[in-house]
């Protein structure tokens, strides 16, 4: 198979690049080792669209964060991405030097972040009554926002797919070789181990924590990525209104602190920790990590109801030794473009990285715009957003929308059918969960798992024994009673 462009990695970066590239007349594909898009760093992070005051002026991080934030406004409408500018606060406590806030303000203004200002305690408490008693002042960034990272990634990927980009899921890249005019990419199927060869004129490396591996296969300019683990606790929607802004802590010698933030779906998120780990698969949570969150969070927000935790998770950020994003053509390998070292603010920067890399490829391959590019994508319909009349009309036409499958999040069979049958549809319980929230509520899929399995079995259709939580080797049931 010969492509103009092969993108390695279907996280938010690979998907954003694919979407922006799909504006052009180009034959592109995305190669992903997992069974679904959004399975790595993109699915386990703070779900924040940062305002952009944190990065050092002049860096890619600074430039792309601010640009990405700006793009989100229109993108969230075009691609139906749940996004809300709830504003963020960096809080300073009485033991901290408030000059730290001034420095952030100054950096932010240099980076071009609009509307930044420092608030004193009185004004702050009116905004956020649950801030800790020690908070004295804070930097307000009104453009800070919250987003659903699953839907953001899927929106890019689905829209790219609709515009002709091919996706190879469950496909593991084992080697990349450069010949005179193309790259030869060898892959194996994650499940069947079937080898395949994909050829491409341009390769884009958006492989997250593994982007050093792929760069180092072809370039003598070696990259080194450290996986930096962040653990989080997600709290019940009952606690979702504990704060309304995203509350950051002013970094100190004790570390960067943790954030407390509402999520765009109405939960409360507390995290992350930051620990460098050797194993790039180590997305396990740890007792120490989880235990530390409550104490650290309490420095900025009081009475966080940690008893209402419904789940915890860990993600790995791809930290490159240089500290900045590494984006651009490898100096010694023409046509090999890195989008590497994408740690925070990676999610926020994704739209801008997509734009930047797509333009590089356009100029490299002299691509022309497509006349029939479809700029919009509709997300999964949430009946909750309809009026009673509209909802009843929908149920009349499609009775599945009258059948609740996930009782915690009140997700209907209709939404699950949509998740399965749309472009790049769900094939696993986690796939359904990320698309619809079925199983993401307080009972954590205890109730809906068997029901969702039934729907997958019938609709895909697939064998019940092939239904997994999150891909190969993760089957839910293993045989009939007395036959195992």
């Amino acid at each position: 198979m010969m492509y103009d462009v092969a993108i390695i990695g279907a996280g938010v970066i690979g998907s954003a690049i694919a979407r922006e590239l799909s504006r052009y007349q180009v034959n592109a594909c995305v190669i992903e080792r997992e069974e679904d898009v959004c399975c790595g760093t993109s699915k386990a992070n703070s779900a924040i669209i940062h305002a952009g005051f944190d990065a050092t002026p002049g860096t890619l991080k600074a430039k792309l964060n601010v640009r990405g934030n700006e793009l989100m406004e229109q993108l969230s409408k075009d691609l139906d991405i749940p996004f809300k500018r709830n504003g963020s606060l960096v809080v300073c406590t009485k033991d901290q030097d408030r000059n730290g806030l001034n420095a952030l303000l100054e950096k932010g203004e240099k980076n071009g972040v609009p509307g930044l200002r420092i608030l004193e305690r009185e004004e702050l408490i009116a905004l956020e009554p649950n801030l800790s008693d020690d908070v004295t002042c804070a930097l307000l960034a009104p453009t800070g926002g919250i987003v659903c990272p699953f839907h953001m990634t899927m929106a890019f990927a689905e829209n790219a797919y609709t515009n002709g980009v091919a996706f190879f899921l469950n496909t593991n890249v084992t080697s990349i070789n450069k010949t005179d005019d193309k790259f030869v990419i060898k892959t194996t199927h994650t499940d069947t181990k079937q080898p395949e060869t994909i050829e491409a004129k341009v390769v884009i490396n958006a492989a997250g924590v593994y982007s050093d591996t792929f760069n180092n296969m072809v370039s003598s300019h070696k990259l080194h990525i450290t996986a930096r683990k962040g653990e989080y606790c997600l709290l019940d929607k009952d606690a979702g209104a504990h704060v309304s802004h995203t509350i950051f802590q002013l970094p100190s010698k004790m570390g960067k602190g943790v954030l407390v933030s509402p999520t765009v779906h109405g939960n409360l998120l507390v995290g992350p920790t930051a620990v460098d780990v050797e194993d790039k698969e180590a997305v396990n949570t740890t007792q120490e990590g989880l235990d530390s969150l409550a104490g650290t969070a309490s420095l900025s927000v009081k009475n966080v109801p940690m008893r209402q935790v419904i789940t915890s998770f860990a993600g790995l950020r791809a930290h490159e030794d240089g500290g900045d994003f590494v984006i651009g053509e490898a100096e010694d390998v023409k046509g090999f473009i890195n989008a590497a070292g994408i740690e925070s603010p990676g999610l926020s920067s994704a739209p801008a990285i997509g734009e930047m890399v797509a333009e590089m490829v356009r100029d490299m391959l002299f691509l022309q715009e497509k006349a029939d590019f479809v700029p919009t994508r509709k997300g999964i319909l949430h009946p909750e957003t309809l009026t009673l009349e509209e909802r009843n009309q929908l149920i009349k036409e499609q009775p599945a929308y009258g059948n609740i499958i996930c009782r915690c999040e009140m997700i209907t069979e209709g939404e699950i059918l949509d998740a399965i049958h749309r472009p790049l549809g769900a094939r696993s319980l986690d796939g359904v969960k990320r698309r619809t929230r079925a199983g993401m509520g307080r009972c954590q899929a205890g109730f809906c798992s068997p029901r969702t399995m039934e729907i997958l079995e019938r609709e895909v259709p697939m064998s019940i024994y092939d239904i997994t939580k999150n891909g190969v080797d993760g089957a839910i049931v293993i045989g009939r009673n007395k036959e195992i």
């Binding site: 606790c233 997600l234 698969e281 997305v283 396990n284 949570t285 740890t286 007792q287 990590g289 989880l290 935790v309 419904i310 789940t311 915890s312 998770f313 009673l388 909802r391 009843n392 149920i395 009349k396 009775p399 599945a400 009258g402 059948n403 609740i404 009782r407 009140m410 319980l429 307080r442 009972c443 954590q444 899929a445 205890g446 109730f447 798992s449 068997p450 019940i464 997994t468 939580k469 999150n470 891909g471 190969v472 080797d473 993760g474 089957a475 839910i476 049931v477 293993i478 045989g479 009939r480 009673n481 007395k482 036959e483 195992i484």
Partner: protein
Amino acid sequence: MKHYDLVIVGGGPAGLAAAVSARDNGIESILIIERDKELGGILNQCIHNGFGLHTFKEELTGPEYAARIVAQVLERGIEYKLNTMVMDISADKKITAMNREDGMFEVEATAVILAMGCRERSRGALNIPGYRPAGIFSAGTAQRLVNMEGYMPGREVVILGSGDIGLIMARRMTLEGAKVKVVAELMPYSGGLKRNIVQCLDDFNIPLKLSHTVIDIEGKNRVEAVTIAEVGPDRKPIPGTEERYTCDTLLLSCGLIPENELSKSAGVSLNPVTSGPVVNDSLETNIDGIFACGNVLHVHDLVDYVSQEASTAGKNAAAYIKNGSSKDAKIVEILPVDGVRYTVPKYVRPTEMDDTLTVRFRVGAVYKNCSIATYFDDELINRRKRPVMAPGEMEQVILDKKKLGEYPDLSKITIKIEENA
């Protein structure tokens, strides 16, 4: 909007028994709303026996017990809707529900009985560290997969928590061909019935490790091993006591949580100890005409007690529908102290109550050679010896209306555990 005298939310053992009792007490217009595809609730997946010894004086399986109450509902021609989810209950007793045929619809009720049951505490709520692979199930989900659908969730099993469903599933998984390696329980005592420990663990040589918990889960896609460790009196793991078990399945039986999201939307006050509504002697909540019974009120050990309680709720709802409430009646609070964790009901109206009132509760630890003592204000009224009491089994005190009538100035009733002299 369609009106019913009584709407019952939930068609499990509580909702069904409440419906039968309300009908037998003269209420014609009743609607039961059930989200599942059949009546009977969670009993339908409890295929083991041991149900009904009190109610039917014989040992039945869960589905058999359910079938008998369902038959009573059908005989009486009580209306019900299946596959229907209640989305909201308002304080003025308008119920919003949805199904495939009717869409979203509202009904209005004079009285409502909450009978939604409970859900299982999840791995997330337990905050167990480790990976998040397939193979971690709440015991009830595994029970449904095995008993209703005939699928095995795994071959080698570790169970955390010794609640009754976990114990029952230890036996079921063994009988269906799996190897249950160990049951770990955080507390120094089991959360389940003594008879289940004997019949489900001891009889199958499955070790029960008290004061142990899971501290790590391994496996990226499917569970590969779990590590358990002993915990100290602070319930924190003791370093050096770790034991690793290779397994592909972890079942969780770590407590049930009454499912009161709808009650909250109606403004019903909850007891933080039970997570169920605060009710008076007629099992009425703080919202006029909204009653509660079964596991949504407090988690029961035996379904027989659910049936009894639900009958009471049905009868009292019927009386409310016919006579309205008696708001001005004197209210006496029951105080649970010294080992008594809570009582249901929490309030008694001495002039309104039935001739006798069964007050149910659980104790907070294992007590040997103790008594349950009842005080009217500071006066000891009753002291009943109990050789053994454990948190896994419900206890009760019966209050007598005549006796209460002798104390017109009574301000509080106290129920406590006392050591035998």
